[in-house]
């Protein structure tokens, strides 16, 4: 590998092959290349059957930029010797890779590939320099049996190349499968692609705006609610009016029945509490009027079996009932802390982190924890056999 064969070595091998003297072979090889190099300069074209065509081509003037100074300068037109190998020879040289065909691919796949290329650059170089640790078989064999003939060596090299071919094919196929999967499951797609992060951002922004809108609505409604509350205080906790308060709270969280019921309960028993604090400062900034509505709602939520994590999601959704829970992946994901290893799991073929998350946590949406815990940057490209640690999740 990577040896430079010079004139005498070439002549020696030719002499062995053709059964002629070494001197004659050397003379022949010398003449062979002399004629090519001389004639290509004189006639501009030399065709050698079985090898290829040497051709003198004219390069036009072109402008270039000095990389260091940024100055523009022209590269003057010059002549260049080009070599085009014979079609037959070309095919025989490319035999180790002859199995590959040019394939049409989609944009997403192209992007995924370009990312893969950056990571796998060393891997791809493997057949040229088989010292890459991922392919120990190729460099080991020649070391073990250095006495092998050239033919055997070549066979081995071919085998190594074929193995690499197969590997690359498998990789490509896997990638294609994964790309297909990405299209199938929207949740995975959202996060694996760049689009995913954008989508999450959008969701976040939507949540924030919703909070603002709720705050504003409460602020606008404040005079009504506040007045009614003042009335309540004045009329010594009139029950009918208290129900109005709870009704107004209901507009905040109408979808979630349980918390609302719970709101009614404290409103009845300690109605003074929500009523007093706003009554003291009627011209508060917009966050503060929101508070009394949230406070009674939060306390009953804890008593329920609902986790604290789910609650804010539900509250936000309540305004827009049609929205699916699954859209708020981020809300789920930021509410747990990872403490210790629950289990280790070896991925099988076709399995993704979402499946692992579903198995261990009962929710697909919690897969980012596993990714984060294992420092997986690209969850769309996991290989079968990858061992992942599944963290214990505790709600914050």
């Amino acid at each position: 590998m990577d040896n430079k064969i010079n004139l005498s070595q070439l002549a020696e091998r030719l002499a062995q092959e053709g059964g002629m003297s070494k001197a004659a072979a050397e003379q022949f090889v010398k003449n062979f290349f002399d004629i090519i190099s001389q004639r290509v300069l004189v006639e501009g074209l030399v065709k050698v059957k079985g090898l290829g065509t040497f051709k003198l081509i004219q390069m036009e003037d072109r402008e270039s930029v000095n990389v260091n100074t940024g100055e523009r300068f022209t590269i003057e037109g010059h002549q260049k010797i080009s070599f085009v190998p014979d079609a037959d020879l070309k095919d025989r040289i490319n035999k180790p890779f002859a199995a590959f065909d040019t394939v049409e691919i989609s944009k997403e796949q192209a992007e995924a590939l370009s990312r893969m290329d950056e990571e796998d650059e060393q891997e791809v170089v493997a057949p040229v320099a088989p010292a890459v640790p991922e392919k120990p078989a190729a460099p080991e064999k020649p070391a073990e049996e250095p006495k092998k003939s050239a033919k055997e060596k070549r066979l081995e090299q071919k085998q190594a190349k074929k193995a690499e071919e197969a590997k690359m094919k498998a990789q490509k196929q896997q990638e294609k499968k994964e790309a297909a999967k990405v299209v199938d499951t929207p949740t995975v797609k959202d996060i694996t692609q760049k689009k995913g992060t954008r989508c999450l951002l959008k969701v976040l922004i939507a949540i924030l705006t919703m909070i603002l809108v709720i705050g504003l609505v409460l602020f606008m409604l404040w005079p009504v609610v506040g007045n009614s509350v003042l009335d309540i205080v004045e009329k010594n906790l009139n029950k009918a009016k208290i129900e109005m308060v709870s009704d107004s709270v209901k507009t905040v969280a109408p979808a979630e029945v349980a918390p609302v019921k719970a709101v009614e309960a404290p409103a009845e028993t300690e109605s003074a509490k929500p009523a007093e604090s706003p009554a003291v400062k009627p011209a508060q900034p917009q966050q503060k009027p929101a508070k009394p509505a949230v406070k009674p709602a939060e306390t009953p939520a804890r008593t329920e079996s609902l986790t604290a994590a789910k609650y804010p999601v539900i509250k936000l959704n309540s305004k827009d009932e049609a929205k699916d829970l699954s859209e708020f992946t981020l809300a789920d994901v930021v509410n747990f802390s990872m403490e210790g290893v629950l289990d280790t799991y070896t991925l099988k073929k076709g399995e993704t982190l979402t499946i692992v998350a579903l198995n261990y946590y009962g929710s697909k949406k919690l897969w980012p924890y596993i990714a984060k815990y294992n420092n997986i940057n690209d969850p769309a490209r996991l290989k079968a056999g990858t061992v992942v640690k599944v963290p214990v999740l505790k709600s914050k």
Binding site: S37, P85, L89, E104, S106, A150
Partner: protein
């Protein structure tokens, strides 16, 4: 200069028959092919280097249709003229 002219000149220079020249050229190319398949390069002073290089796979885009194609990796025989020969070009 086509192959026939080339063989004629070669046989003249080496003082061998045209047929013999043709078979020897074939043998020489066969020997060089084996060298290339071993991953070695043929380097001749005054002529240049003939070697096999690996081109990585790449994604090419058809500019008119926008269709993306994955072009597979390939091994290509390349020729790099020696600096001596390049000097002569000027």
């Amino acid at each position: 200069m086509n192959n026939k002219q080339f063989l004629n000149e070669l046989s003249d220079k080496c003082q061998i028959g045209a047929e013999q020249a043709a078979t020897q050229v074939e043998q020489l190319i066969g020997v060089m092919e084996k060298i290339w398949q071993d991953g070695d390069s043929v380097s001749l002073s005054g002529f240049g280097v003939l070697e096999v290089k690996k081109k990585n796979e790449r994604v090419s885009v058809n500019p008119t249709t926008g269709v993306r194609m994955l072009v597979p990796p390939k091994l290509v025989l390349t020729y790099k003229p020696s600096s001596l020969l390049k000097e002569k070009l000027k």
